[in-house]
């Protein structure tokens, strides 16, 4: 399940007045405050982008684009939602654009052509794979490949909700806020995603 979210969410709630102070400083042009604000969230942002796009280059692009958007538009932040929700809205929109473009182009996200031949993009991202005897490693590898393929079969929106709930640990209500939809719609989307995953992978776990 989600290893990161609850504690981070607790910290976010507790740190809100401090955070708003920081945002006001950024709005006044304090670049140091922007750096501080970035560091509060950038690990989560990069993890979300890398998890969704499964490509370190694309994750890097989304990171840069998202925070530059924040920097350019911070003056329009009106404190009517949490900064976290605002930031995640930007990041998820950018990621959804990437995922949709990928679907349209039927791009093979896993393979990157280099001067040294095709390279698996995921090799540059460290996955938590089980170590052990070779047979088990091979089995795990195959299972992970099937999981990757099953995730690719989800629609961009299902993929997003699943990533936010399973890997980022956001509650369904927060996911609804980030994606501009209701908690119920997020719940239905999660249900469809988990059902597809169960059908695709139920026989191998």
């Amino acid at each position: 399940m989600d290893p990161h979210a609850a504690a981070a969410a607790g910290a976010r709630v507790a740190a809100q007045p401090e955070e708003w102070e920081l945002i006001r400083s950024v709005q006044k042009g304090d670049r140091g405050a922007f750096d501080q604000l970035v560091r509060m969230y950038d690990q989560s942002v990069l993890r979300l982008a890398a998890g969704l796009l499964r490509s370190s280059e694309d994750a890097r692009d989304v990171y840069q684009e998202a925070f530059l958007k924040v920097y350019r538009n911070i003056h329009s932040f009106r404190f009517d939602c949490s900064f976290y929700t605002w930031l995640y809205r930007i990041v998820t929109n950018l990621c959804l654009d990437h995922l949709r473009r990928r679907k349209v182009r039927k791009e093979d996200a896993a393979v990157l052509e280099t001067s040294e031949g095709p390279v698996n993009r995921m090799d540059s991202l460290e996955e938590q794979r089980a170590l052990g005897n070779p047979e088990r490693s091979l089995w795990n590898r195959q299972l992970q490949d099937r999981i990757g393929a099953a995730l690719d079969e989800l629609t961009p929106r299902e993929r997003m909700v699943f990533e936010l709930r399973h890997y980022q640990g956001l509650r369904l209500r927060a996911i609804g806020e980030v994606l501009g939809t209701s908690e119920e719609a997020a719940k239905n989307c999660l249900f469809r995603a988990t059902q597809k995953m169960r059908l695709a992978l139920g026989d191998c776990v």
Binding site: M1, D2, P3, H4, A5, A6, A7, A8, A9, G10, A11, A14, R31, V38, R39, D42, Q43, S44, L46, R47, A50, G51, R54, S56, A59, R60, Y63, Q64, F67, L68, Y71, R72, S124, L125, E126, E127, Q128, R129, A130, N140, L143, Q144, I147, G148, L151, R165, H166, Y167, G169, R171, L172, K187, L190, F191, T194, M197, R198, L201, G202, V205
Partner: protein, 305 residues
């Protein structure tokens, strides 16, 4: 509750998204239904397999992203007119010298020769007990100013790479390790530095650095090393305060588990509150179980009233 609706609710149950009474109904049904129990076990295994598919972001990738972002932000903030290219800068400066071009050029060559000689011939020197060996030398010229007598004043920044060798009791070595422990660009260097410093946590300065690393370092490996260093000082009020903060804010469950163990070395009333608070927010099953056990050991209730 039918098997169909139980199966439908299972994913929400596993994500902790069911209301308590729905959870209880589902658990009661699963308890008495073999088929649903098997299905739930299967879904739990699927969850675990999916957990292993999580992507861990390399610290180097994060560091690269931060550097690129700050560079882009600086670029955005600089007005275009204030951003001449290096060629324009160089030619502009050269043209402005007028008749002084020849002596300035000659002196620049002399300076280049002087620094090249220093780079290749500088002998090892001693500094405060630590052996120092120069290994590389680079400089950047900031300004070149001719004066009326034909001489030139050159302002430059020197960057020198040296190797220092010394014991952990050497003040210079310790000062450099403390600086290395804050090096944002290199998490490996921070891990190594904290690892060395942790055996000297008796010093208040080192302890401060360990607490800072524990609370602020983005790398979980560094934070775990800092925790190891603070183990013998877990009863100190500052360390306990930091540990309590870690429990509520650190995103890494391994770090949170270590923090619970250290806080449990000295059980007090304030710890009960922290653990009760944590258990409300904690999503990691193992950490929650750890909290629960700790509270039971202190004869405290799991919930708050």
């Amino acid at each position: 509750m039918s098997c169909e609706s139980v199966t439908r609710d299972m994913p929400l149950y596993l994500y902790g998204e069911l209301a308590p009474e729905e959870e209880e109904r589902l658990e009661a049904h699963v308890h008495g239904c073999e088929a649903c129990r098997r299905e739930l076990d299967c879904q739990k295994r699927l969850h675990r397999a999916l957990d292993e598919h999580a992507v861990e972001v390399e610290p180097a990738l994060l560091a690269g992203c931060r550097t690129d972002l700050m560079r882009a932000v600086r670029h955005m903030d600089t007005p275009k007119a204030a951003r001449p290219g290096w060629k324009e800068t160089l030619f502009g400066f050269w043209n402005s010298l007028g008749a002084m071009r020849q002596p300035v050029g000659a002196l620049a060559l002399v300076a280049l020769g002087f620094f090249a000689a220093r780079f290749s011939m500088r002998p090892p020197s001693q500094q405060s007990g630590a052996a120092v060996t120069p290994e590389a030398y680079a400089y950047t010229i900031r300004s070149v100013q001719p004066d009326a007598s034909g001489r030139v004043q050159i302002a430059l920044d020197e960057t020198r790479r040296r190797t220092m060798v010394g014991g952990m009791d050497d003040e210079n070595i310790r000062r450099l390790l403390l600086a290395a422990a804050r090096d944002e660009a290199n998490p490996g260097l921070r891990v190594d530095s904290i690892d060395l410093l942790k055996s000297h946590a008796g010093s208040a300065v080192v302890r401060d650095a360990l607490v800072t690393a524990l609370l602020r370092d983005p790398n979980a490996g560094v934070r775990l090393k800092a925790l190891e260093g603070l183990k013998n000082f877990a009863s100190g009020p500052e360390t306990r305060q930091a540990l309590a903060q870690v429990l509520l804010t650190d995103e890494n469950p391994g770090v949170r588990v270590q923090a619970i163990d250290m806080l449990m070395q000295q059980r007090d009333e304030s710890l009960v509150g922290v653990l009760q608070n944590l258990i409300q927010k904690e999503d990691n099953n193992y950490v929650r179980l750890k909290c629960q056990t700790a509270l039971q050991e202190m004869n405290a209730s799991v919930g708050t009233f």
